[in-house]
């Protein structure tokens, strides 16, 4: 079954790069949705049947940790893996994200291989 993916990042450049990397993976991709912050991300989750999320942390309106908290609090979404892709390298933020239920963590700047490797581990 094809996997619909949501990318949440306020940078269009990063969304584009992640979209490109997703197309290079072995994942059986369905649609790739994009959102510019956590609020838009939640709107997309309500409207679409997303199976995997890649999210930034430092975003306007609703940051990635708030978004992650909302996803994991919803029984319909709590099993959907959310991978954080962010410049926030502080131990505090990493631990917070993992504690909230993030499936993994990749720090920017990243190579396509780092994303692919992490995604393979998460999806398999």
């Amino acid at each position: 079954m094809a996997l619909d993916v949501l990318i949440v990042d306020d940078s269009a450049a990063i969304r584009k790069i992640l979209h490109r990397v997703l197309l290079q993976t072995n994942l059986m991709l369905g649609q790739v949705f994009e959102a510019t912050d956590g609020r838009e991300g939640l709107d997309c989750m309500r409207a679409e049947s997303v199976g995997l999320v890649l999210s930034d942390i430092n975003m306007p309106n609703m940051d990635g940790l708030e978004f992650l908290r909302a996803v994991k609090a919803n029984p319909l979404w709590q099993n959907i893996p959310v991978m954080m892709v962010t410049t926030e390298g502080s131990q505090d933020k990493v631990l917070q994200a993992l504690k909230l239920g993030a499936a993994g963590y990749v720090k920017k700047p990243f190579t396509p291989d780092q994303i692919k490797e992490k995604l393979t581990g998460i999806v398999s």
Binding site: A12, A13, I17, T86, E88, S90
Partner: protein, 173 residues
């Protein structure tokens, strides 16, 4: 921590971002302290605020040509004018550079936060960070274009209510 240490952090972060995300080299030059308003620039500046027990700003200044080149690589489409894609790419570039410097600074200065980046494009502009009279400037050359990364930090004293200047972070930590 001293000026040389922060310079090394900025060089490491900038080099890694350019190599990893852009497959480009950013050749560092000699760093120096800048006082008062900046020199006059043409091109783009991307500003990222730093907050916590130390507050300040990280900024990336570059020419329009370099910004278009960076955006062309990121978007995999040639950019021939300073459009939204170019502004976005510069915003993310500064976010990654300053974000990584922030992570390194945190090991010595404690937890710090980052603002959402702001990008400005213009000609003949100068910049001044209120309260911070000195900034550390680390120049780079990339594909024949100059790029400056600047860091200023002020320590927030809770009881005295006055901030020590960046110089104290550079020389006494």
């Amino acid at each position: 921590m001293d000026e040389a240490k922060i310079t090394e952090m900025v060089r490491a972060a900038t080099g890694e971002v350019f190599q990893t995300m852009l497959n480009m080299d950013a050749e560092p030059g000699e760093s120096f302290m800048e006082q008062g308003a900046s020199e006059s620039y043409d091109g783009l500046v991307s500003l990222v605020g730093i907050a916590g027990k130390w507050t300040g700003m990280g900024s990336v200044y570059c020419t329009s040509e370099l910004a278009m080149r960076v955006a062309s690589v990121m978007f995999m489409a040639e950019q021939t004018s300073v459009n939204l894609e170019v502004l976005d790419a510069m915003s993310e570039l500064a976010n990654m550079i300053v974000g990584n410097v922030k992570s390194m600074l945190e090991t010595e200065l404690g937890p710090l936060g980052l603002s959402i980046p702001t990008v400005i494009y213009g000609r003949n502009y100068r910049a001044l960070s209120g309260g911070a009279r000195e900034r550390l400037v680390i120049p780079f050359e990339c594909e024949g274009h100059r790029m400056d990364v600047k860091i200023c930090l002020i320590e927030c004293h809770d009881s005295a209510g006055t901030g020590a200047r960046f110089a104290s972070a550079l020389h006494h930590h």
